[in-house]
Subunit: 373 residues, 4 copies
């Protein structure tokens, strides 16, 4: 694994916990973690249970005892590492967004295809049991033709103007702001549940344009003016409207400026025969409405998706005993290693990136743009 921050922790835990919950042919061994600062990476390896560490990710790629390279570094490094890993014949796992640009994403996809390695992009929210169950209801035609997909991903962690200029706020490192960081998750959920995007119109916004600059992460620094402030070069918020290939009307909003919403990743789907609602902060529940329920008894049902019949839920606890954020990663990795379910791969990463690019283009051109196929 390259990198060891928040996502490194989530992935490491999932590798460790996976064999406890699922019987699989493959049992991950935590061989080595890489990072530039020796003391920090050594500590991370100890804490998270990696057998060894490297201070140069290239070493990981070269090591014979490593089959999978997992990339949880800032976004601007994904491409180089992933391509090198693929060329070395390693299977590749990457955090989202895949890359800084659609072009770069396509190169990565080419590399994994050419080298015939498996590839995964960590859109973990697909793997909440409630979301997998939503997918099943949709596939079974239980909602009929879909009219609306409505997604909000609301956070508030950078609302303080004194929150520093971290790497996620610099375009050259992160590609975009709320758009690629959290909007990409909504886009993935939309693609998973509804289908492909046709065209988009939207806008981005940066509410706080300068922030205290300093070290950003792993040796990166943001340039600053004399007063120690540097420019925020990504969006704080994004809103866009889309049409899907199947005619569904989509509305999306992703923001880091919605006070009181720590991680409110939610969607609603309205179809001919019913509706669904889901919210990551209450991730075990799926609200389900059927328009053919008996008259007078129509209403959203709150289904606690913790029963044997709900995808992946049976691996955990009895009904009503909820699971949390980390289990989305465990389920995702189970799908990847055991191919127990379709998992998001670099092709998904490319298609997601095409939507991100279309949003940015629409924001600049101030009009509808087609999503590149």
């Amino acid at each position: 694994m390259v990198g060891y921050q928040f996502m490194g922790k989530a992935h490491s835990h999932a590798y460790r916990d996976l064999p406890f919950y699922f019987d699989g042919k493959i049992k991950p061994v935590l061989k080595a973690v890489a990072g530039r600062k020796e003391a920090a990476v050594k500590d991370a390896a100890d804490r998270m249970g990696w057998e060894s560490y490297e201070t140069d990710w290239r070493k990981l790629v070269e090591r014979k005892d490593i089959d999978v390279v997992d990339i949880v570094t800032p976004n601007h490094t994904h491409a180089e590492i992933a391509i090198a890993a693929a060329k070395a014949g390693k299977h590749v796992i990457t955090e989202k967004p895949l890359a800084l640009s659609l072009e770069q994403a396509k190169e990565m996809h080419e590399a994994v295809k050419e080298n015939n390695v498996k590839h995964l992009i960590c859109h973990n929210y697909r793997f909440a049991p409630a979301v997998q169950f939503a997918k099943k209801l949709l596939e079974d035609g239980r909602l009929g033709r879909i009219y609306h997909f409505r997604a909000n991903y609301l956070q508030d962690f950078i609302m303080d103007p004194d929150f520093p200029l971290i790497w996620r706020l610099k375009k050259e490192v992160s590609g975009s702001g709320a758009l690629g960081d959290i909007g990409a998750h909504s886009i993935d959920l939309a693609r998973f549940l509804i289908g492909e995007f046709e065209e988009i119109v939207g806008t981005t916004e940066t509410f706080i344009k300068e922030r205290p600059a300093g070290e950003m992460s792993g040796g990166l620094s943001a340039s600053s003016d004399a007063s120690g402030y540097g420019e925020v070069t990504v969006d704080d918020a994004v809103a866009f409207i889309s049409r899907f290939e199947n005619g569904t009307l989509g509305t999306f909003e992703a923001t880091r400026f919605a006070g009181g919403n720590r991680n409110k990743n939610k969607f609603e789907i309205n179809g001919e025969k019913g509706s669904l609602r889901w919210d990551m902060e209450d991730m075990n529940k799926l609200d389900v409405y059927f328009s053919d329920d008996e008259e007078g008894l129509q209403g959203f049902r709150t289904v606690n998706c913790t029963e044997e019949v709900h995808p992946y839920a049976g691996a955990y606890w009895p009904a009503g005993h909820i699971i949390g954020y980390e289990h989305t990663f465990i389920n995702l990795l189970h799908a990847f290693f055991e191919e127990s379910a379709p998992y998001p791969d670099f092709e998904d990463g490319v298609k997601n990136q095409a939507v991100l690019e279309a949003v940015e283009k629409s924001s600049e051109q101030r009009q509808w743009v087609s999503v590149s196929k």
Copy 2:
């Protein structure tokens, strides 16, 4: 009052109930209701407590014993009646949207100004105590700079493809569909709470393009093909993004195709210092978040706006004893007759219409458009 359907009932009730709850200088007397079909209008007069009836609205306008003309007819008739009433020196009350077009709306506004009569457009949702209280919090600066306004108005009453081609589905009678019928309410709430719109990008959608045709209302008929189907000429749904003059980013969606949502008129506001959430289906409650609440104790408070301190709530019942839809009209009329609070007038109607027009223009031109001032 001209017209006597759903809105006629809501208005009639409010006139009757107003003096019970509020001490005011003016006590409305229900003089006469007008409608074209004698039997029906006579029955409506009896049922709703009007002293007399007329079968031609022009008679109402001429009657000396009438001070206020209230127009609750289909939208295409608002202008003619309102202008005639104003010219006759009557105060005028109209249902929303004000008119079929911005131009028509402006003519109406001119007429009431020239004839120096009072004028009201019935954006009743402003007058839920929770919304009035939200306004107070905003005016007091409790949320600081506003970043986001997010409105959904979701209904589902025409989802059945066999639902007939009523007047609300014909452009020449209604002006627009979900946009002017319910989206106009969201626009009014946004203008009331946030401020004026600057520019807009959006789209409209008609999911069911033909419906069983027949008599629409009050003598109107929709043309149909041989099979008895006629064309739906308005939007079933609309989505748009806006920027406000003060920099707030707005997102709006109004639809009649969101199954399970009977009348879900809701908004969220995110500001520098806090957030608000409101939903008409639970109209007594306002969710309030303050970012300067004590660490660890931050969270949305669910405030039951039924206390003396909440605007208009003191006129009704003790705290916790909720009120409903009809009370928004009572409060609105109290504001109008007693000028107890700013009420939405034809100027608001014009500005609202300018937003409606911008949305339709943007939908056609597929790009951002400025809102006409």
Copy 3:
């Protein structure tokens, strides 16, 4: 009507509003209101629309132009007025609880039976559409055998120790505290929905034993010590467990010391085939669970009981446009005047009083007691 405080307002409004919403054979005329203080009763008559007033309730009972006497005075006066009214051949409406004791309640019931007049006790919460709909589901056997009835009635209006010693806090005037004031409503809902009580065990509690004394209401004063404090002689809270004749296990709690709960009157019912949940603060909604819903799709449905199919809801507004507290009285009076539905009468009042008495007896004897039949 005798009395004109909170309940007087609720009743007056309901008489006025009833004919607007319901076509009935009987249209109430607000003839006269009685109270001891002339200025106040005159003002109340004006404000609430009564044609005349009396300063002695006996005058009301004597008046020929009055058919119905409605008693909304403090509890200790119900019996004398009701019996006098019945003897004078007037139909009688009384607020709950019927009387100060079971014996007194029985005398009242005898009086109305002997004089062959109609009688109503205002357990209005039965008449929320969601509660009427719950009743229908139960009658239709949709829940099967009932295992549990669980009621909480939580208020907080007297939590401040400086809240004065009003008449509701003196046993000689009110009979009991939270028990008879709000617990009686839960008992009525239980009897309406589940059936008759068999036996009870419970306890009462007075958290604040002395309060500032002064005039209580209508000329009554509470005695006080030198410091101006008087003794609270009723319960602040009550909790009891019951068995019903049909084997259902009931749990009840009523308190005025549950901070944050302004008027949280709620119940849950668990039966063999499903469950129901209702809360007066959200009175339009009924949560419904069916155990034979499809596997994986089981969950409480939130039904907004505002549709034509929901009892009484059709008289008001389109689906999703909620009603409030006052409408429970309108529905109740419609049932009484038009006998459109079984309404709670003095027999219900007697049976309710028997439960109240059993709770007090159990609290004293510290053991289970049978409910008197």
Copy 4:
């Protein structure tokens, strides 16, 4: 560890996961699991990561390489194993309830004290961050004097009359039904948050008195009649009222017959200065009400207890990324091994058992009983 069913899984996982999330002096090693059926226990050891297995728990107790014995077997075996383990100088962890009777519980407590070993009873729900945070608010006096504690523990897993006669339904194996299985958790939460019980009145109920009999667990069989049905000898539901030493009034209900409630373990606390509400099915949230919040802005705040400031939450994920059921065990074990917080021990087990005993005694004697000290 002795036993390897549901609780065995929960404990095993927690031992494995503990060192990932918490830095501690002690790192548990999963030495051996014991069970009577070799094939099954071998499989459990493999699946859950135990180094070895034994088919007789006495072997575990004798093994030198084992420091802690964890007992997750049916309740009737707790005492013998725990006492033997204590005598062998092992630290002892036991599932709740501690024993079948208060006397037995006291013997167990004596044994661990005499042998000077550490002891833990797994009341895991104390260790949800939201509950720990509630404890902190109470200790800090934020709610003032406490008036009410109100607990419901609602499940529905045995509602089907054809659900078999498992060991949890036989008194000689489980001690009691819903009372000891889930009511014991509510009792522990009450003792943790409010204080000691003074006296109790309550009742138990068995709705389904006979069930299909067969093998129950680990070689146990339930006797049956000719038709294959055996008697249920424990309660299906229990309700009781309590007074606490500090004057708080408590109400409790625990049932396995509340359809639609898979694991609804909830409580409400009402104090002089505020209220708290918690529900295990939404375990990350704590509803908090303060009566000294600004007028008009009073309401329950929904606090998502996933922030650094919330006890134990900092060990997991960023704010808003929820945790689940299993984390309550990890936190509990961290408290036990590192003594990072007071944990429930055998003394708590004894006091809990005294309450269970008082409830059963009250149910038999049909009156209030004191809780044994």
